[in-house]
Each structure stands twice: as C-alpha cells, then as structure tokens.
Amino acid sequence: MDAKRTRAVNGVFSGVTFLSSFTVIMAVLGIFACLCLESAPAVREYGFFRFITETRWDYAENVFGGFRPLAGTVLTSAGALLIAVPVAIGIAVFITELCPSFLKGSISMAIELLAAIPSIIYGMWGLFTFAPLIENTLQKWIGGTFGQIPFIGSFFSAQYAGGVSIFTASLVLSIMIVPYIASIARDTFSQTPAILKESAYGIGATKWEVIRDVVMPYCKTGTNSGIIIAAGRALGETMAIAYVIGNRHGPLNSLFDPYTTITSVLANEFNEASGLHMSSLFLLAFILFIANFATLTAAKIYIRKKVNR
C-alpha cells in the first residue's frame, strides 16, 4: 500500500517536472505560431520575397518594405563582429597568456561585467556621451581623410548632425558583444593542454607563434562557436541600437548616415502601429526570430559535430 503511494507520488512529481520543462518548447512554438499568424497579412500583401526587397517604408502611402531594416541589422551586426572579434581574441590572449595571475580573476570579471550592463544603459551612454564624441573625433577624421577621394568620398562624409549613425551603432554593438566572444575564447584557450604548448616552445617558437599556431587552431571550434553566439546576440540587440542608430527610413549613402534596424523599428513604431504597418512589423520580428534561431542552432550543431569527430 505504502509502496504504491510512493510510486504514485514519484510519478506525479516526475510528470510535473516534465511539464515544467516542456514550457520551453511551448514558448518557442508559441512564438513561432504567433509571429506567423500576425505577419500573415503582410505576407499576403507583398509576398515574402517582395517584402525583403522593397525599400520603401512609408506611412502615407501605406507601403512597408523590409529591405532597409534587414540591411541595417545585417550591416550593424557585421560591422560589430568585424571590430569585436579581433579585440575579444586579443583580450582572451592577454588573460590566458600574459596577465599576471593575481589580476586574472578581476580582469576576466570586468570584461564579463560589460555583458551585464543593461542594453538601455549602453543606449543612454551611447546617445548622450559616445555619439557626440564620435562625431567630433573619428567621424571628423575619417570624413576629412577619406572624404576627398573622388566617387567614394561621399561614403565617408557625414550628412547629418548628432553622431547617431550606423557607424556609431556598430561601435556600441561591438563593445556589447566583446564579452561573449572573449569569455568563450578565454575558456577554450585555457583548456589547451600545457604540454602541447610546451612542445611548441620546445622547438623554439615565440609566445605569439605558440598562440597562433597551436592554441588558436586547437581552440578553433570553441572560439568559432563563441563568434556565432555573439552574432546571434548582435542581431537581436535592441535598446542600445534604438538610441544610436537614428531611426531613419532613407537610403544609406554614407557610413555616418542614421539608419534603421529590425529591432529599432520595432521599438520605435510597434506601439503606434496598426493594420498592415503592424503586420509588417510582426513579419520583421518573425524574420529576426528565424535568423537568430538559425544562427544559434548552427552554433550548437557545429560544436556537436566537431566534438563528436
């Protein structure tokens, strides 16, 4: 009798834990279904392909094309990765190979804290402090140096004031994703077997040669997956971008033009939208969801494949 009750309680408990974990699947399926349903009108109106190639985003004409927000998301993320990857790997090299051991813990923690600062704080800092600084320094310098080159010079000169631009957004985004790459790279670097490094030192390699030829190839999988995860984060980053991208639905003619991304257009327009406008925003959210999900799934599959080999 007692054994029977015990078995029943255990069964109920295991069922409850299973259902709780199942909520993750429910949430993901729910997000997928909702975004599908809500974006259906926009897909019916334009078709998926026309939506992503349509450049106009015009309330007056009631035309909403996804090209610019999509391009903005891709460009800011790519720009951010371009800057963040070398910096983050440099940080990992410093922490694992150069840093005196009593400082290791605090420097690692400081870099990780960069990831803990809320997005909106990056936004405040970016808008009020960093963007004006960029406008008066890098933007001026690049415009003055490359702006004179015929044909492509205009790409480097600023047309708008305030320093909010796709350039500033990429910079802020790069600071935000550095810790993701750096901490994964650091973890894998520090797992390189000591005798593997010693045997490279043993045939007369310099420290940098050991890092480049032994540590980095050995840690390729881990570092690459860190980069993919950071790319996924960059695609979905919202509040900081919403502050410093400038939210302009116009053609991108210069590195220093304000522009738009999926997340910034969502943050700015969602609450005032209705009808086709709303549905187009949902379609953008859906595209972002798929892109982010695919990126992170790719990272998972990549690791599994490499590790199992």
Partner: protein, 283 residues
C-alpha cells in the same frame, strides 16, 4: 636568417602589445560607461527620487521622483520570479534527473540554451499578441509574463547544471537507504545544489531587471503609482527610455538617476553572485 629571427621577435612583441591594448580597451569602456552613469546620475540621487512620483514637466517648482517606477519595477520583477522560478527549477530538475538520458531532455536543454539568447524584443511582440491584444490593453501581468519567459531558460539551465554537479554517488547513497527518487531529489540533490541554484536565480533577476524591450509592448509605462497589475505598469527601464528621449531637462536627469540605480543594483548582484559561485565551487 638573422633578419628572419629579428622579425619573428618583433612580431611577437607587437602581437603581445596589441593583446594588452585589447584588454585595456575593454576595461576602458567598462569604466568609461560606469563613470558616465555615475557622473550624470549621482547628482539626482536623493530621497525624493524614491518617495515622490513623477511630476509633470515644465511645472514651476514641481519636484518629482520615480517612486512609481521603482514600485512598478519591483512588482513586474516579482511577478516574473513568481512564474519563472518554480517552472525553471522544476523544469531543470527534469533535465538533470528524470530526463537526463532521454532524447526529449537533451532537446529541451539545447532549446533552452538557444532561447537564452533569443532577442527579448521578440518575446515582447509574442506576449503582446497573446496577453495584450486579446485583453484590450497594456497590463502588468503581460510585462511580468514577458520577463518570466526570459528568466525561464536561464533558471532551467542553471538548475540543470548545478544539479549535475552533485555527484551521482550521493544519490546512490540515498537510494541505498531506501529513499524513493522524488525524495532523493527534493531532500538530497536540491539541498546540495541549493547555493548554486539560488545564485543562478539572483543573476537571472539581475538580467531581467535591466530589460526594456520586452516591456515596451506589454506593461508599457505609467506616470502614476499603481498596484493594479491589470493596467499599464511603470518600470525603471521603460521610464528611462521615454524620459531620456524627452525634451525636458528634469526628466532627462531622472532618467540618469534611474540608470545609476539600476546599473549599481545589477553590478552588485553580478559581482557578489560570481564571487559566491567561485568561492562555493572552488574545488
């Protein structure tokens, strides 16, 4: 040969100097941002910030604080903890125990990892379409639910990891005394993993406390103190977002003050939590 060797030495020195510069750059930006928030925020920190509600801008002599936003933030975060933590702990328990060798367990674990990095604004749009639109307006429950969806995978994965750290022999020892599995879990494994799970929950609270995007379309904002979760709820982050973009100097100041408080809170939890984990799991 000599020049080749000299070049290798120079390359080595250059690469190492550059890596030190990268680390310095990272630290520089951390302190730059923190100093900036401190510089702008500290002047507006006073008791009124916590005891007064927001005053309408441009009103002569009006003094305002952010009491409503602090209260709202607490309620939203509290609501998220109420929903997300029990589900997360139980779900993580399934992944670490009953489901640890099952395909579905591994699948959910992997899916949670992916969901941890899901853009929070997408969760906002999702909750909008199931909890705001059908009920005719922004409400606090929707905000809490959105934060809970963000917390859930974090708590699930931390719980799973922390329970896996409890050695299998500990469970066997309890089984050998004749304890059923659910008692082994609740009385032995949970106790062993409690410190880690608790820290994980704290860190997830710090994470959602800084979230803005999922609240924009769910709890929205409110300039008045309210305890009614079925109406729009103010939060610190959305208040920062709206006030910072406003043309009123007083409001921008309040936005900086709120930024300071929230950054301080999140940094302290992160530093303490990480130190605690390090200390607890040193071996």
């Amino acid at each position: 040969m000599i020049t080749g060797y000299a070049r290798r030495k120079i390359t080595n020195a250059a690469a190492l100097v550059l890596s030190a510069c990268a680390a310095a750059l990272g630290l520089f930006f951390l302190f730059y941002i923190l100093a900036d928030v401190l510089r702008h925020g500290i002047m507006s920190i006073n008791l009124k910030l916590f005891t007064l509600d927001a005053a309408p801008p441009m009103m002569a002599g009006a003094e305002g604080g952010l009491r409503q936003a602090f209260a709202g933030q607490l309620m939203l975060t509290g609501g998220a903890v109420l929903i997300g933590v029990p589900l997360g702990i139980l779900g993580g328990t399934f992944l670490a125990e009953y489901g640890r060798f099952s395909k579905i367990g591994r699948f959910i674990s992997g899916l949670s990892d992916i969901t941890v990095s899901m853009p929070s604004i997408i969760i906002g749009t999702f909750i909008y379409s199931i909890l705001v639109k059908p009920f005719g307006g922004f409400n606090g429950w929707a905000g809490a639910a959105a934060l809970a969806v963000i917390m859930l995978p974090i708590v699930i994965r931390t719980t799973e990891e922390m329970m896996r750290l409890v050695p299998w022999t500990t469970r066997e020892a309890a089984f050998a005394l004749g304890a059923p599995y659910y008692k082994v879990i609740t009385q032995v494994v949970w106790r062993g993993a409690a410190a880690g799970i608790f820290t994980g929950i704290l860190l997830s609270v710090a994470r959602v406390a800084g979230e803005t995007a999922p609240l924009l379309f769910t709890s929205f904002n409110n300039n008045f103190l309210t305890f009614d979760m079925s109406g729009p709820m103010p939060s610190l982050t959305v208040t920062i977002y709206q006030y910072a973009a406003s043309p009123y100097e007083e409001w921008v100041k309040l936005a900086w003050a709120a930024s300071f408080v929230i950054t301080l809170f999140i940094l302290i939890i992160n530093i303490l939590g990480r130190q605690f984990i390090k200390w607890r799991y040193k071996n």
